[in-house]
């Protein structure tokens, strides 16, 4: 146990030191990667643990973005207040739509979340205080280092939240819901309440990421705030790294971001090709995610890959 704590502390320290030593572009890439990792962790709570894969967390990201932007640009509040507004908006939305939406299973849930995000984007486009289609400009604050550390802090907090959940009664309930929701209900798990709580927690983390990003970029508009490509990205990173684990999504997000960034600079012309191939091969050989692969390799060596192929093929 202490080894794990030490390793985590060390990793945090190393990551925190990056802006001091690296080129500005690396810090900027780092901010994006860390925020994505937070999104993957947030998704992990509802998607990985409870088994409800959302394809519309961008809704909360957008709410966090706009909450912060409107508070700061229109009402001239401090960043902290702005973030709080964004987070509050995210949580309110989650609690409001959670009950009807979380009654749906599988594909229906996925699609409704996607619809929710698109709907919110379309609504924002027509609201004056949010700047309609043109967007809003926030006060300028130039310090990539600060935003980097903020993003790292958010990731650490998100991961801590997931770790606490995993160990708690709440987490046990979420997993029971994932494994067999009907049995869980009959055994006393208040399924609707737990699911809404998980959604609300994910919404808050996601909204905070949106708020940080908004202040960093200094500009928000509906298209980028409710960016639907984020949805696929966060799902992929969480699933690639290991859904339902504490560290998996972080590893998945940072690794995928890193690979994509490195490919872009090293072999820019064929970067996409290799990126796609890497993903396909990784899933074929490590269908339970990177984290599980790490454990499997340690316990059973290379046989892990063969076993996977045999177990999961049609």
């Amino acid at each position: 146990m202490t080894v794990r704590w030490l390793a985590t502390a060390l990793a945090c320290a190393v990551l925190a030191a990056v802006p001091l030593a690296a080129r500005p572009t690396l810090t900027q890439y780092g901010i994006e990667a860390l925020l994505l990792a937070s999104l993957a962790q947030a998704w992990n709570i509802l998607g990985g643990y409870a088994g409800y894969p959302s394809f519309g967390n961008s809704a909360f990201y957008g709410l966090g973005t706009y909450g912060t932007a409107v508070a700061m640009a229109r009402f001239h509040q401090q960043f902290g207040v702005g973030l709080a507004c964004g987070a509050a908006l995210g949580m309110a939305c989650a609690c409001a739509v959670g009950v009807p939406i979380l009654r749906l299973r599988g594909p229906y849930f996925a699609i409704v979340t996607l619809g929710l995000s698109a709907m919110l984007a379309a609504i924002v486009r027509n609201v004056a205080i949010a700047g309609r289609n043109i967007g809003l400009i926030l006060p300028i604050f130039r310090s990539d280092t600060l935003f980097y550390e903020l993003a790292l802090g958010l990731l650490a907090a998100a991961t801590a939240a997931v770790a606490l959940t995993a160990r708690s009664r709440f987490g046990a309930g979420l997993v029971a819901i994932r494994e067999n929701e009907e049995a869980a209900a009959v055994m006393g798990v208040a399924t609707t309440r737990f699911k809404v709580m998980a959604l609300a927690l994910a919404a808050v983390i996601t909204a905070l990421a949106g708020g940080i990003h908004a202040y960093w970029i200094t500009f928000v508009d509906p298209a980028s705030a409710f960016d639907s490509s984020l949805n696929v990205k966060m799902v992929i990173m969480a699933v690639f790294g290991g859904p339902g684990t504490v560290v998996g999504p972080v590893v998945g997000a940072l690794l995928l971001s890193g690979v994509s960034e490195w490919l872009a600079s090293a072999i820019s012309s064929m970067a996409s090709l290799f990126y796609g191939l890497v993903i396909v091969l990784a899933v074929l050989f490590m269908p339970k995610g990177l984290w599980d692969a790490g454990r499997g390799l340690r316990q059973r060596g290379l046989r892990y890959f063969g076993e996977n192929l045999r177990r999961y093929r049609l």
Binding site: R169, A176, N180, E182, A183, A184, A185, M187
Partner: protein, 247 residues
């Protein structure tokens, strides 16, 4: 002062599914520490009745009372908190979890809201596994269990809830006579703790040993109720089972 009222009562329960009447005005009660056997041919509505009591389905007509409280519109998890536990005829384990973790869910969320701490829940779960004879497989994946062990897991999960009313849906199916006797012993122990038990069974050997009273369902209707020897020789009951081998 002991409470003499029945712990459980069903009045005029009916259940209709789009033109199919699964249950028709079923009325019965259970006292604390009593074992009521429920038998009847396949499709008689026995599992539907259990689903109505546990909350998975809601009755079309009728009322359900538990400890003098009307519960027929409560969601399943609230009924579990009150102390109603059930097993599933078509077993529903948590596949990705270990046997111990499966049972621990019941301890974590059962009667009264269950344990607050996972460690305590795990201890209780181990206790239930010992009672049902599964302690040696506590850390195996639930998926890996087969046949009789799966039945025992269902039973252990039901027990972990700390129920006051336990609904057992064919927990003996597929067991050989020695295994049946083992499970009968477990159920007797549970009853000795004051738990009221509704036992659905086709295995007559078990029913005869366990049931204080017997109720027979046929096409959703109660056709007999009373002492086992009386019920089993009732002409309508014999007719309903005509052609079936009596175990």
């Amino acid at each position: 002062m002991t409470d003499r009222t029945p712990i459980f009562e069903a009045r005029g329960l009916s259940k209709r599914f789009r033109g199919l009447t699964a249950l028709r005005r079923v009325t019965f009660h259970l006292d604390r520490g009593e074992i009521l056997g429920l038998i009847g041919p396949n499709g008689a509505g026995k599992t539907t009745l259990v689903s109505l009591i546990s909350g998975t389905l809601w009755p079309t007509e009728g009322e359900i009372y538990f400890e003098n409280r009307r519960i027929d519109r409560l969601p399943p998890h609230r009924r579990a908190h009150l102390g109603i536990g059930r097993t599933f005829q078509i077993m529903k384990p948590f596949p990705g979890l270990s046997v111990l973790e499966n049972v621990a869910v019941g301890a974590l969320f059962g009667r009264g809201g269950g344990e607050r701490h996972r460690a305590r829940a795990r201890e209780r779960a181990l206790g239930c596994l010992e009672v049902t004879g599964l302690a040696s497989r506590a850390y195996d994946r639930a998926e890996a269990l087969t046949g009789p062990d799966r039945k025992r897991l269902e039973l252990a999960k039901g027990l972990a809830l700390g129920p006051k009313l336990l609904l057992l849906d064919e927990v003996m199916a597929g067991l050989n006579p020695a295994e049946v006797d083992q499970v009968v012993a477990i159920i007797r122990k549970v009853r000795a703790d004051g738990v009221a038990i509704l036992v659905i069974e086709h295995v007559m050997r078990a029913i005869r040993q366990l049931a204080d009273r017997l109720m027979v369902l046929h096409h959703g209707e109660q056709i007999a109720e009373g002492r086992p020897d009386e019920v089993l020789s009732h002409p309508r009951v014999v007719e309903a089972y005509l052609g079936r081998r009596r175990a």
